[in-house]
């Protein structure tokens, strides 16, 4: 290891250990400190702007560091942010809120841990809301990791509201059917028979022995479905097979990368509402009155967006200036 790298590694280790063992916790900035930190960040950007238009763009590691700081610092700030609900998220909530107690909802968890920061808050808010309003959930996944994410959402609901642990019974109020491979072919087979695809639940309890599934044979016995999707297989496959072929009413929560591609389905009425990315999750948390991680992250997300926009502006101003000078 070169001396420079050794010093960097040592500094990182010392800082982390200081944070872990020495600093008082938790850390929270007062509004004044929050403003000062924000202004300091702004000054740093002004300096980068100056350097860039002088023809000395900062190196990429400085960009990385600034992005990192902009994401972390808001964790400790106390700005209150107003949040406006978008029509597509409102539509998801309206559909969920209109379900009478005892309704059966099919929830497909089609994502893995990398997408969890965006989709897990939606899933957790949905599960909590459903449990508190006696809405029965049939969980499954077209991604192998999905059922485990579903279990984590259930666990989060129980941790948030410990009373639910006694009120909500597995097999009666919710069931986890697990994962099956085959992408849209799984959905296709479920259109005729759930049991054909899931002979048992995740814990090998036979399908017919699960009280919640007594009168559930296919999509016609489902009141509404929600799909948390990070890609393929996911919302698109559910729309193509379950919605368009078997008329399953469905809403979706998507990662922000996928959400723009789903808007045509929303416009065509194939999808009843959409939560897109972390902002969609935060809006859903606000509507269900169950603030969670997405609401907490909103400030960091805001800072991150502003930082990227500033980088674009700085880069472009320098570009236009240099073009003008060349002419």
């Amino acid at each position: 290891m070169k001396t420079k790298e050794f010093i960097v590694t040592a500094i990182i280790i010392v800082v982390l250990l200081l944070c872990k063992f020495v600093l008082p916790k938790p850390i929270q900035f007062s509004p004044t400190i929050s403003w000062i930190v924000t202004i300091l960040l702004g000054l740093v950007f002004a300096f980068i702007f100056y350097l860039t238009i002088k023809g000395k763009p900062v190196e990429r590691r400085i960009v990385f560091l600034l992005v990192g700081i902009s994401l972390v610092v808001p964790f400790f700030m106390q700005f209150k942010l107003p949040l406006k609900i978008s029509p597509e998220v409102q539509q998801v909530y309206d559909k969920l809120a209109s379900l009478p107690p005892g309704s059966k909802v099919l929830a497909s968890f089609d994502y893995d841990p990398p997408s969890a920061p965006e989709l897990q808050p939606m899933a957790e808010a949905f599960v909590k809301y459903a449990f508190e309003h006696d809405i029965k959930i049939i969980m499954m996944g077209l991604w192998p990791q999905g059922p485990q994410q579903a279990n984590q959402a259930v666990e989060a609901a129980f941790e948030e509201n410990p009373a639910l642990r006694d009120q909500v019974k597995y097999g009666v109020d919710y069931v986890n059917l697990g994962f099956q491979s085959g992408n849209e072919f799984v959905v296709l087979r479920m259109g005729e028979s759930f049991k054909s695809m899931f002979p048992s639940d995740l814990n090998y309890t036979p399908y017919d022995s699960i009280p919640l599934l007594k009168n559930v044979s296919n999509f016609s016995n489902i009141d509404w479905s929600i799909n948390f999707s990070a890609g393929k297989p996911g919302t698109v496959e559910w729309i193509q097979v379950a919605v368009d072929r078997y008329n399953l009413p469905m809403s979706a929560g998507n990662t922000a990368v996928q959400a723009p591609m789903v808007y045509p389905y929303l416009n065509a009425g194939q999808l009843l509402g959409l939560m897109g990315g972390m902002s969609g999750a935060a809006e859903f948390e606000k509507l269900t009155n169950l603030p969670g991680k997405a609401t907490t992250f909103l400030l960091s997300q805001t800072f991150a967006h502003v930082v990227v926009i500033l980088f674009i502006i700085i880069g472009n101003v320098a570009f236009l200036r240099s073009r003008k000078e060349t002419k």
């Binding site: 072919f185 990227v308 880069g315």
Partner: protein
């Protein structure tokens, strides 16, 4: 045997799925059900093939003492640890009373999933955040009208999807703040553009599928 049978299989299976859409009756629906069941089982073997192939390649690297053989051993070791817990706890849970899944909280497999697999996979994809920012600074330029349109749309959407956008445009009339503009971009021009792409892909996919089913497109069979 090497080409004719696969082409025949593709034709029969493809035709069954296409016809079952229009004629959801026996015998098409029966075949569709059977083939649907088979698909998942064959797909499972396909995944196994991928995993076993990875092990084969890693083992060869170790055997030949290639420069990065230590990393190849790490791959094999972590694979073996994961499958050990998966099989051991899977069978243990199967014969336990009450039964439990190898994925339940408290199992070694779940521990590895939560603290190793989740941490690594999530961080690996999260790294892209930094590269997106770096690219925005270094490469995202308004060189012409098209690029400028792209930039403007990105600007409105990025600001409109977080509260600061509305805070900066409170002076605008109700219904015309930044989030409203972002909503409009998403539901009108974005929908139009995505729909054009979607229809284009769908038409291409239909023709390619037809070529595959009819045996005109055989590249998936490889050489020989």
């Amino acid at each position: 045997m090497k080409r004719e049978i696969p082409i025949a299989i593709t034709f029969i299976v493809g035709t069954v799925f296409a016809l079952a859409y229009f004629i959801p009756r026996e015998p098409f629906s029966l075949f569709e059900r059977q083939f649907g069941d088979w698909f998942g089982i064959i797909a499972a073997f396909a995944i196994w093939l991928g995993a076993l192939n990875l092990m084969k390649i890693s083992a060869m690297k170790i055997a030949r003492k290639k420069p990065d053989f230590i990393y190849a051993s790490l791959i094999i070791l972590s694979f073996l640890v994961m499958i050990f817990f998966g099989f051991y706890e899977g069978y243990k849970g199967l014969f336990a009373e009450p039964q439990f899944s190898y994925r339940d909280a408290g199992t070694g497999f779940n521990w590895l999933y939560e603290y190793v697999y989740s941490a690594l996979s999530a961080t690996m994809f999260a790294l892209l955040a930094f590269f997106v920012a770096s690219a925005s600074y270094r490469a995202f330029r308004a060189r012409n009208l098209e690029a400028t349109l792209l930039l403007i749309a990105a600007f409105f959407v990025m600001l409109g999807r977080v509260p600061v956008g509305d805070m900066l445009t409170t002076w605008m009339p109700i219904g015309y703040t930044m989030s409203d503009w972002a909503n409009w971009i998403m539901s009108v021009p974005n929908t139009a553009g995505q729909r054009a792409i979607m229809i284009g892909i769908a038409l291409g996919l239909v023709s390619t599928s037809l070529r595959i089913i009819l045996g005109l497109e055989r590249s998936y069979l490889g050489g020989e």
